[in-house]
């Protein structure tokens, strides 16, 4: 069975400092992994995805994530936080090996960016 665990429910950083949001996954298959962002009172937007190509995945707004099979991790990073990065971030794994696209969401990490 597939699952994701976001290791921090809340992360606070200062503007201009690096961001690290941690995610571990469990999957019986070679997983497809995603990071989505949700700004307050908005729908979710895809940041980046890993689908068994390059292990270092670059996304929008300067975010990237590295797939590490040995550590079953898919942590999200950004070198320098911006105030507009403050949002809820979800690590997501695709359920099963089929193509129905069903997703399993982590519980989310709230990123706070302080001036």
């Amino acid at each position: 069975a597939q699952s994701v665990t976001q290791l921090d429910s809340h992360v606070s950083v200062s503007e201009g400092t690096p961001v690290l949001l941690r995610c571990n996954y469990s999957s019986s298959y070679s997983p497809s992994l995603f990071w989505y962002v949700q700004h307050p009172n908005k729908g979710l937007q895809l940041l980046l995805k890993y689908t068994s190509a390059a292990t270092l995945v670059k996304g929008i707004n300067g975010f990237e994530a590295e797939f590490k099979k040995s550590e079953t991790s898919f942590h999200l990073t950004k070198p320098s936080a911006h105030m507009s990065d403050a949002a809820e971030y979800f690590c997501v794994v695709r359920r099963g090996s089929g193509n129905t696209g069903k997703l399993i969401f982590g519980q989310g990490t709230t990123l706070q960016v302080k001036p």
């Binding site: 995603f34 729908g43 895809l46 995805k49 695709r94 696209g101 069903k102 997703l103 519980q107 989310g108």
Partner: protein
């Protein structure tokens, strides 16, 4: 493209009432999904559809029904609303590259 649109944005229901949450996408995607998001939680899949006329249950389907008569529309029906259905509901569609596009959500309060 408008993407995925949802109506209404907010609704208050009394216990036992019913309502339909509307979802429309203009991207010609075959796959569509309904999720609910409870406070402090990730999204849970209610129902999904792989094309017009085909729907299937997700993780939390009880108390809900769906239909998919066209590619564009995927309404979610709540029968006999209960306080446990107070949540934010998101509709999404998926493209061929596995990217899901989400609507802005419907906030539902059942009192």
């Amino acid at each position: 493209n408008a993407g995925v649109t949802q109506t209404p944005k907010f609704r208050i229901l009394k216990i036992g009432q019913s309502m339909t949450l509307q979802c429309t996408q203009d991207m010609n995607h075959n796959y569509m999904y309904w999720y609910r998001q409870d406070p402090g939680m990730g999204l849970k899949l209610i129902y999904y559809s792989v094309g017009a006329g085909i729907t299937d249950k997700g993780e939390v389907p009880n108390g809900y029904n769906v239909s998919r008569s066209t590619t564009e529309d995927f309404p979610l029906r709540l029968e006999l609303a209960a306080p446990s259905q107070t949540s934010v509901y998101f509709c999404a569609s998926r493209d061929s590259q596995e990217t899901q596009y989400f609507g802005p959500g419907t906030r539902l309060l059942v009192l």
